[in-house]
């Protein structure tokens, strides 16, 4: 499965909030989740093609001038230019979403799938999902998981970006190259490597701990306990999510004028206060976009869980997309799986819309 939290198409480094990207081709269940992914950034980015890294919204004196004059310039050309993207979106995201929603109202088990039968069941699938206690446990778990991943990703990403501003050119190139390599690793490969690194018998972590500390971890099982299993999954997800955040924030940091920071320093700001009260507010739009993107990406993590634990031990690391996958491909109840996926899309939209609105409001108050 292609879509997952860290499979970030490189184009999204540039602000292309509606890029359907390589995610779009995956099956209906998977793609539909992406639809949510493409909406909020548009909302967050405000008026389309303004690069979020410019931080222009925060810089005084650069507010858009003479809106009336601009409006006059708008002819049919922009609409013509936007048509291909819209068609692509409708075809690659709209249609699968339509199929997903339609399927969620059907009884579609293996028999109906193979025999191409259409059996409408109304809201039965939704009733099945919503009355499944595992679904609720999984939904809550997914939210907590995403919150932890987003926090760590943004936090570590910010620190790395700040670090890159301070170190010399050679070191900066080295860090950037490392980030790009981590980012470029296919998630399936990365997850497989992480599983091996933490293998209880042949893993390098257990070997190192046993060699370097008095502890004997030669048979320590990372995946027998849900917390340590989750720790490995989170590490893997965050490891691949940090580069995008770090590089974007680094680019944004370069737009913060030195004079402003210098003025803050002269006024007696330490580094922490300078960051807290000068840099951070200026970068608020970037943080906003990065956070909402991360929320969406981390809500739909699939690959890492599937490869590293496959939901184990005892289904305690099942996240919502793996739940959907098991319902669909595992026990061949594609209607039920679609209903779960539709709920997931709705959930993602809700969380993101709410989050973006709060952030925008906070941003406006501060300005």
């Amino acid at each position: 499965m292609e879509n997952d939290a860290t499979n970030r198409p490189p184009e999204e480094a540039a602000p292309a909030p509606t890029d359907p990207g390589p995610d779009a081709g995956a099956g209906a269940v998977a793609v539909a989740v992406d639809v949510a992914g493409t909406v909020p950034p548009a909302a967050g980015a405000g008026s389309g093609p303004v690069p979020p890294v410019s931080g222009s919204a925060a810089v005084p004196g650069q507010a858009p001038v003479a809106p009336r004059q601009r409006r006059r310039e708008v002819g049919p050309l922009p609409y013509a230019l936007v048509v291909p993207s819209v068609l692509l979106l409708v075809g690659l995201l709209g249609y699968p979403l339509y199929v997903l929603v339609r399927t969620s109202f059907q009884l579609l088990d293996l028999r109906q799938l193979v025999r191409r039968q259409t059996v409408w069941t109304g809201l039965d699938n939704y009733a099945t999902v919503l009355s499944d206690s595992e679904f609720w446990a999984v939904a809550v778990r997914t939210l907590v998981f995403a919150a932890i991943c987003v926090g760590l990703t943004i936090g570590i990403g910010t620190l790395v970006a700040l670090l890159m501003r301070r170190v010399g050119k050679g070191m900066r190139l080295l860090v950037a190259a490392g980030l790009l390599l981590a980012w470029a690793t296919p998630p399936v490969s990365a997850a497989t490597v992480f599983r091996w690194v933490f293998d209880e018998q042949y893993g390098v972590v257990n070997w190192a701990v046993t060699r370097l500390t008095p502890l004997d971890w030669s048979q320590h099982s990372w995946f027998a306990d849900r917390y340590s299993a989750f720790a490995v999954i989170i590490l893997c997800v965050v490891w691949q999510a940090v580069p995008f955040v770090a590089l974007t924030l680094y680019a944004a940091l370069t737009t913060v004028p030195d004079e402003v920071l210098e003025a803050a320093r002269i006024d007696g700001c330490g580094p922490w206060r300078a960051f807290r009260h000068v840099t951070a507010p200026m970068l608020k739009p970037v943080f906003l976009i990065l956070t909402s993107l991360s929320v969406i990406w981390d809500l739909k993590v699939f690959t890492q869980v599937y490869v590293i634990t496959r939901g184990g031990p005892d289904r305690q690391t099942v996240l919502i997309n793996l739940y959907t996958y098991t319902q669909g491909f595992g026990v061949s109840r594609f209607g039920v799986a679609s209903a779960a996926a539709v709920i997931m899309v709705a959930l993602t939209l809700l969380v993101t819309v709410w989050y973006v609105r709060v952030m925008v409001r906070v941003g406006e108050e501060d300005l």
Partner: protein, 430 residues
């Protein structure tokens, strides 16, 4: 003139559309009409480890002699995730023509309508000498969908050299002497932190069920028209309790691991395990990696509770099926006929080390000290509940989750078996 031209044009378009429609919609009809003289490629899905290459090559050679214009594409599939893959393939427009399907999964795919009904061919294929267990597995509501391919069961493979060094001179004949042997082995070789007297990955349910059955327990029992999970019965719990004790004391295999990712044959070959519970063909896997161990691998049946008894084993195996949507059903049938026929089966039983599909060939291993043990053990064998819904128990990993919970201690045996039983009851009656 003008009008006639238009009529011709319309007719032409109509013919073109009709032809296109035919070609796209139902190629199976065209193939059936044309018979097997038509040159077509056939695609065959076989499972990893099922047949040695030499057997398949011989079958393909015989097939090519009869149908020189047909190319056979044999694609080897992994067991891991095979249900998902088969589902997608059968629901698609272009499924493989021949599929090897694990015996416990045939009825699920037969029920879906994705497999061809081969009842009429049973006599021609030699169906009256087939192993009963495999025939039952390939049959749904009296119709045959899966041609018996081969059977397999498990026994204890052990390292003779490690046994000798630990002073274990007689092979275990019951579970008590099995534990005694394991204790000696662990005491002698346990200085190596990775050594397992018995290497048992936590999710290995095929190897766990014998102990459940040996105590008189079962996975599920039929109660009228419905099924009821039975892993929480006192008998099942007793078997699992014994196994938990053994696994905790003697196995260093990953508790959350499975027998595919953590192939027990590897530690056995490396001397990190003295015993594993596995299939007969795994001897070949070990010897391929470590030819020097030629005389050091031995086998004995999984011991039972009472002295001299053996535990009932899980009789697995595979069937060969033809996809309903195959566009070369006749050719596919001819290929299946060759692989399930006595020539290929003899070959498979000798070089592949599996139990052949026919009772007529059961004597084939009688001089082989290893394979004859597996054949004998198969006489006391059981299988999973005979219902198309069983496959869903496998794919939702209910047994695996239960075992991991028990071995890791995250749930007590009563709790783990109760929730597994409830899940099985729910799944089988869904």
């Amino acid at each position: 003139m003008h009008r006639r031209l238009r009529t011709v044009a319309v007719a032409g378009v109509a013919v073109a559309l009709f032809a296109a429609g035919c070609g796209g919609d139902d190629p199976a009809d065209a193939a059936a009409g044309g018979g097997d003289t038509q040159a077509k490629d056939i695609t065959v899905w076989l499972m990893n480890g099922s047949a040695p290459e030499s057997v398949i090559e011989a079958v393909n050679k015989d097939f090519a002699a009869k149908y020189p214009d047909t190319k056979v594409n044999v694609e080897i599939q992994q067991w891991d995730g095979i249900q998902e893959k088969t589902t997608t393939a059968l629901a698609g427009n272009n499924p493989p023509d021949v599929l090897e399907i694990g015996s416990t999964l045939v009825s699920k795919f037969a029920e879906s309508g994705g497999l061809k009904d081969l009842t009429g061919k049973k006599g021609e294929l030699g169906g009256d000498t087939w192993l009963q267990g495999l025939t039952d597995a390939g049959t749904l509501d009296g119709a045959l969908y899966g041609v018996p391919y081969y059977a397999g069961d498990r026994a204890v493979l052990y390292r003779k050299d490690l046994f000798a060094k630990a002073g274990v001179t007689t092979l275990p004949t019951d579970r008590a002497s099995f534990v005694a042997a394991a204790e000696k082995l662990q005491a002698t070789h346990g200085k190596d932190k990775q050594f397992s007297a018995l290497y048992f990955p936590g999710q290995y349910w095929y190897a766990a069920l014998p102990f459940v059955w040996d105590e008189g327990g079962d996975v599920a029992v039929k109660d009228g028209d419905s099924w009821k999970g039975a892993l929480d019965s006192p008998q099942s719990q007793a078997g699992l309790g014994w196994l938990k004790d053994v696994v905790t004391r003697f196995s260093k295999a990953p508790v959350n691991g499975n027998e595919n990712d953590n192939d027990p044959a590897v530690p056995l070959g490396e001397g990190k395990a003295a015993m594993i519970i596995d299939a007969g063909w795994k001897v070949g896997t070990v010897l391929k990696a470590k030819p020097a161990l030629k005389d050091q691998i031995g086998v004995f049946p999984i011991p039972g509770k009472t002295a001299g008894s053996t535990a009932p084993v899980f009789l697995g195996g595979s069937n060969l099926a033809i996809a309903e949507g195959s566009d070369a059903g006749d050719l596919a049938y001819e290929w299946v006929k060759l692989l399930s026929g006595s020539k290929a089966q003899t070959d498979l039983a000798t070089t592949g080390g599996v139990i052949p599909n026919s009772t007529g060939l059961l004597d084939i291993h009688k001089d082989d000290p290893i394979l004859s043990v597996f054949d004998a053990a198969a006489k006391n064998s059981r299988s999973t509940p005979a219902t198309p819904k069983w496959a869903n128990v496998e794919s939702s990993t209910i047994l695996q989750d239960m075992l991991v919970a028990i071995f890791s201690g995250s749930k007590s045996i009563p709790d783990a078996t109760r929730s597994a039983s409830e899940a099985i009851t729910k799944t089988l009656n869904a």
